[in-house]
Symmetry: C2
Subunit: 134 residues, 2 copies
Protein backbone atom coordinates (compact mmCIF):
# COMPACT_ATOMS: atom_id res chain seq x y z
CA UNK A 1 0.00 0.00 0.00
CA UNK A 2 1.23 3.51 -0.84
CA UNK A 3 2.43 5.65 2.02
CA UNK A 4 0.41 8.79 2.51
CA UNK A 5 2.34 12.01 2.83
CA UNK A 6 0.65 15.00 4.47
CA UNK A 7 1.57 18.56 3.48
CA UNK A 8 -0.13 21.34 5.45
CA UNK A 9 -0.07 24.85 3.98
CA UNK A 10 -1.66 27.79 5.82
CA UNK A 11 -1.61 31.54 6.23
CA UNK A 12 0.90 32.30 8.98
CA UNK A 13 2.29 29.72 11.37
CA UNK A 14 -0.95 28.11 12.38
CA UNK A 15 -0.46 24.94 10.33
CA UNK A 16 3.06 24.55 11.66
CA UNK A 17 1.80 24.83 15.23
CA UNK A 18 -1.19 22.57 14.51
CA UNK A 19 1.19 19.80 13.48
CA UNK A 20 3.24 20.35 16.64
CA UNK A 21 0.08 20.31 18.80
CA UNK A 22 -1.06 17.02 17.26
CA UNK A 23 2.42 15.56 17.77
CA UNK A 24 2.20 16.67 21.41
CA UNK A 25 -0.84 14.39 21.71
CA UNK A 26 0.08 11.52 19.35
CA UNK A 27 3.86 11.59 19.29
CA UNK A 28 6.11 12.50 16.38
CA UNK A 29 4.71 11.71 12.93
CA UNK A 30 6.58 10.65 9.82
CA UNK A 31 5.57 11.81 6.36
CA UNK A 32 4.13 15.13 7.53
CA UNK A 33 5.38 18.65 6.85
CA UNK A 34 3.75 22.02 7.48
CA UNK A 35 4.50 25.26 5.66
CA UNK A 36 3.26 28.73 6.45
CA UNK A 37 3.02 31.96 4.49
CA UNK A 38 3.96 34.87 6.72
CA UNK A 39 3.36 38.53 5.93
CA UNK A 40 6.01 39.66 3.46
CA UNK A 41 7.00 36.12 2.46
CA UNK A 42 7.41 35.36 -1.21
CA UNK A 43 4.58 33.23 -2.60
CA UNK A 44 6.96 31.94 -5.28
CA UNK A 45 9.37 30.70 -2.63
CA UNK A 46 6.54 28.93 -0.80
CA UNK A 47 5.33 27.35 -4.05
CA UNK A 48 8.86 26.14 -4.85
CA UNK A 49 9.27 24.68 -1.38
CA UNK A 50 5.90 22.90 -1.64
CA UNK A 51 6.74 21.61 -5.11
CA UNK A 52 10.11 20.30 -3.99
CA UNK A 53 8.48 18.38 -1.13
CA UNK A 54 5.79 16.97 -3.41
CA UNK A 55 8.19 15.86 -6.15
CA UNK A 56 10.54 14.28 -3.62
CA UNK A 57 7.75 12.28 -2.00
CA UNK A 58 6.04 11.32 -5.25
CA UNK A 59 9.39 9.92 -6.40
CA UNK A 60 9.09 7.62 -3.41
CA UNK A 61 5.60 6.62 -4.66
CA UNK A 62 3.74 8.24 -1.80
CA UNK A 63 0.22 9.60 -2.17
CA UNK A 64 0.16 13.29 -1.41
CA UNK A 65 -2.53 14.84 0.81
CA UNK A 66 -2.45 18.63 0.98
CA UNK A 67 -4.39 20.27 3.82
CA UNK A 68 -5.04 24.01 3.70
CA UNK A 69 -6.85 26.49 5.95
CA UNK A 70 -9.41 27.97 3.54
CA UNK A 71 -10.26 28.02 -0.13
CA UNK A 72 -8.93 31.39 -1.30
CA UNK A 73 -5.55 32.97 -0.78
CA UNK A 74 -2.07 31.78 -1.59
CA UNK A 75 -2.03 28.48 0.37
CA UNK A 76 -4.99 27.06 -1.55
CA UNK A 77 -3.78 28.61 -4.82
CA UNK A 78 -0.49 26.78 -4.42
CA UNK A 79 -2.34 23.56 -3.61
CA UNK A 80 -4.62 23.87 -6.66
CA UNK A 81 -1.58 24.56 -8.85
CA UNK A 82 -0.04 21.30 -7.62
CA UNK A 83 -3.29 19.42 -8.23
CA UNK A 84 -3.27 20.59 -11.84
CA UNK A 85 0.42 19.93 -12.42
CA UNK A 86 0.82 16.53 -10.75
CA UNK A 87 -1.34 13.45 -10.54
CA UNK A 88 -2.25 11.61 -7.36
CA UNK A 89 -2.55 14.75 -5.29
CA UNK A 90 -5.47 15.36 -2.98
CA UNK A 91 -6.57 18.52 -1.24
CA UNK A 92 -8.76 19.16 1.78
CA UNK A 93 -9.71 22.69 2.85
CA UNK A 94 -10.67 23.63 6.43
CA UNK A 95 -7.85 21.84 8.22
CA UNK A 96 -8.28 21.40 11.95
CA UNK A 97 -7.01 19.06 14.65
CA UNK A 98 -9.80 16.52 14.02
CA UNK A 99 -8.80 16.02 10.38
CA UNK A 100 -5.13 15.68 11.16
CA UNK A 101 -5.63 13.21 14.04
CA UNK A 102 -7.92 11.06 11.89
CA UNK A 103 -5.41 10.96 9.03
CA UNK A 104 -2.51 10.05 11.31
CA UNK A 105 -4.57 7.41 13.12
CA UNK A 106 -5.96 5.81 9.99
CA UNK A 107 -3.38 6.16 7.24
CA UNK A 108 -1.55 2.95 8.18
CA UNK A 109 -4.72 0.87 8.13
CA UNK A 110 -6.94 2.44 5.47
CA UNK A 111 -5.48 1.44 2.13
CA UNK A 112 -7.44 3.70 -0.20
CA UNK A 113 -6.59 7.39 0.01
CA UNK A 114 -10.16 8.18 -1.12
CA UNK A 115 -11.55 6.31 1.86
CA UNK A 116 -9.04 7.92 4.23
CA UNK A 117 -10.00 11.43 3.12
CA UNK A 118 -13.68 10.66 3.45
CA UNK A 119 -13.04 9.40 6.99
CA UNK A 120 -11.04 12.55 7.83
CA UNK A 121 -13.77 14.87 6.56
CA UNK A 122 -16.42 12.89 8.45
CA UNK A 123 -14.35 13.16 11.62
CA UNK A 124 -14.19 16.90 11.26
CA UNK A 125 -17.88 17.31 10.49
CA UNK A 126 -18.94 15.01 13.35
CA UNK A 127 -16.50 16.61 15.79
CA UNK A 128 -17.45 20.19 14.99
CA UNK A 129 -20.17 20.60 17.56
CA UNK A 130 -21.74 23.03 19.85
CA UNK A 131 -22.08 22.49 23.56
CA UNK A 132 -24.29 24.61 25.73
CA UNK A 133 -25.37 23.70 29.23
CA UNK A 134 -27.35 26.86 29.96
Amino acid sequence: MSKKFVLIITHGDFGIELLKSVEMIMGEQEDAVALGLRLGDSVDDLRSKAEEIIVENQTMSKDIIILVDILGGSPSNIALYMLKKYSNINLITGVNMLILIEIFQSREVVEETDELLEKAIDSSINGTKRYNLN
Copy 2:
Protein backbone atom coordinates in the same frame (compact mmCIF):
# COMPACT_ATOMS: atom_id res chain seq x y z
CA MET B 1 -26.94 43.73 21.46
CA SER B 2 -24.38 41.90 23.60
CA LYS B 3 -20.80 41.88 22.44
CA LYS B 4 -19.48 38.43 21.69
CA PHE B 5 -16.14 37.57 23.21
CA VAL B 6 -14.11 34.73 21.69
CA LEU B 7 -11.77 32.62 23.82
CA ILE B 8 -9.75 29.98 21.97
CA ILE B 9 -8.13 27.19 24.04
CA THR B 10 -5.99 24.49 22.40
CA HIS B 11 -3.24 22.00 22.97
CA GLY B 12 0.03 23.79 22.24
CA ASP B 13 0.28 27.09 20.41
CA PHE B 14 -1.94 26.30 17.49
CA GLY B 15 -4.90 28.36 18.68
CA ILE B 16 -2.63 31.32 19.38
CA GLU B 17 -1.21 31.10 15.85
CA LEU B 18 -4.64 30.52 14.33
CA LEU B 19 -5.84 33.82 15.78
CA LYS B 20 -2.72 35.55 14.41
CA SER B 21 -3.24 33.97 10.98
CA VAL B 22 -6.86 35.14 10.85
CA GLU B 23 -5.78 38.64 11.92
CA MET B 24 -3.21 38.56 9.11
CA ILE B 25 -6.17 38.18 6.71
CA MET B 26 -8.87 40.27 8.44
CA GLY B 27 -6.89 42.76 10.51
CA GLU B 28 -6.68 42.95 14.28
CA GLN B 29 -9.77 41.75 16.17
CA GLU B 30 -11.16 43.02 19.45
CA ASP B 31 -12.73 40.70 22.00
CA ALA B 32 -10.62 37.70 21.09
CA VAL B 33 -7.97 35.90 23.13
CA ALA B 34 -6.19 32.60 22.54
CA LEU B 35 -4.61 30.40 25.19
CA GLY B 36 -2.50 27.30 24.71
CA LEU B 37 -1.49 24.41 26.95
CA ARG B 38 2.13 23.52 26.31
CA LEU B 39 3.86 20.36 27.50
CA GLY B 40 4.66 20.76 31.19
CA ASP B 41 2.27 23.68 31.67
CA SER B 42 0.03 23.62 34.71
CA VAL B 43 -3.60 22.89 33.82
CA ASP B 44 -4.67 24.76 36.97
CA ASP B 45 -2.85 27.88 35.80
CA LEU B 46 -4.52 27.65 32.38
CA ARG B 47 -7.94 27.19 34.02
CA SER B 48 -7.34 30.22 36.26
CA LYS B 49 -6.28 32.33 33.31
CA ALA B 50 -9.34 31.26 31.30
CA GLU B 51 -11.64 31.92 34.27
CA GLU B 52 -10.18 35.36 34.85
CA ILE B 53 -10.77 36.28 31.20
CA ILE B 54 -14.33 34.93 31.28
CA VAL B 55 -15.30 36.68 34.52
CA GLU B 56 -13.81 39.96 33.34
CA ASN B 57 -15.74 39.86 30.07
CA GLN B 58 -18.99 38.63 31.59
CA THR B 59 -18.81 41.59 33.97
CA MET B 60 -18.93 43.73 30.82
CA SER B 61 -22.07 41.76 29.74
CA LYS B 62 -20.41 40.05 26.83
CA ASP B 63 -21.50 36.64 25.58
CA ILE B 64 -18.64 34.19 25.80
CA ILE B 65 -17.80 31.82 22.94
CA ILE B 66 -15.12 29.26 23.73
CA LEU B 67 -13.52 27.47 20.78
CA VAL B 68 -11.40 24.37 21.41
CA ASP B 69 -9.48 21.94 19.21
CA ILE B 70 -11.08 18.60 20.15
CA LEU B 71 -13.44 17.14 22.72
CA GLY B 72 -11.12 15.40 25.16
CA GLY B 73 -8.03 16.67 26.92
CA SER B 74 -7.46 19.68 29.12
CA PRO B 75 -8.62 22.48 26.78
CA SER B 76 -12.13 21.03 26.44
CA ASN B 77 -12.20 19.99 30.11
CA ILE B 78 -11.51 23.58 31.10
CA ALA B 79 -14.21 24.79 28.70
CA LEU B 80 -16.79 22.32 30.04
CA TYR B 81 -15.93 23.37 33.59
CA MET B 82 -16.67 26.99 32.65
CA LEU B 83 -19.94 25.97 30.97
CA LYS B 84 -21.07 24.32 34.21
CA LYS B 85 -19.91 27.12 36.46
CA TYR B 86 -21.09 30.18 34.53
CA SER B 87 -24.17 30.91 32.48
CA ASN B 88 -24.17 32.35 28.97
CA ILE B 89 -21.13 30.44 27.86
CA ASN B 90 -20.99 28.58 24.58
CA LEU B 91 -18.51 26.03 23.33
CA ILE B 92 -17.60 24.82 19.87
CA THR B 93 -15.14 21.95 19.31
CA GLY B 94 -13.12 21.50 16.12
CA VAL B 95 -11.92 25.07 15.73
CA ASN B 96 -10.44 25.97 12.36
CA MET B 97 -9.95 29.08 10.27
CA LEU B 98 -13.42 28.85 8.72
CA ILE B 99 -15.18 29.02 12.10
CA LEU B 100 -13.10 31.92 13.32
CA ILE B 101 -13.48 33.98 10.15
CA GLU B 102 -17.26 33.45 10.17
CA ILE B 103 -17.55 34.55 13.81
CA PHE B 104 -15.45 37.66 13.27
CA GLN B 105 -17.32 38.55 10.07
CA SER B 106 -20.78 38.00 11.51
CA ARG B 107 -20.68 38.85 15.21
CA GLU B 108 -21.38 42.55 14.66
CA VAL B 109 -24.45 41.86 12.53
CA VAL B 110 -25.95 38.65 13.90
CA GLU B 111 -27.65 39.54 17.16
CA GLU B 112 -28.37 36.09 18.55
CA THR B 113 -25.33 34.12 19.68
CA ASP B 114 -27.23 30.90 18.89
CA GLU B 115 -27.64 31.98 15.30
CA LEU B 116 -24.01 33.10 15.07
CA LEU B 117 -22.72 29.74 16.28
CA GLU B 118 -24.96 27.87 13.88
CA LYS B 119 -23.61 30.02 11.05
CA ALA B 120 -20.02 29.35 12.18
CA ILE B 121 -20.53 25.58 12.30
CA ASP B 122 -22.24 25.64 8.89
CA SER B 123 -19.30 27.59 7.47
CA SER B 124 -16.89 24.99 8.74
CA ILE B 125 -18.93 22.04 7.49
CA ASN B 126 -19.50 23.61 4.07
CA GLY B 127 -15.88 24.71 3.75
CA THR B 128 -14.36 21.37 4.75
CA LYS B 129 -14.14 19.87 1.30
CA ARG B 130 -12.10 17.62 -0.81
CA TYR B 131 -10.70 18.68 -4.17
CA ASN B 132 -9.25 16.19 -6.60
CA LEU B 133 -8.58 16.95 -10.24
CA ASN B 134 -7.13 13.55 -11.15
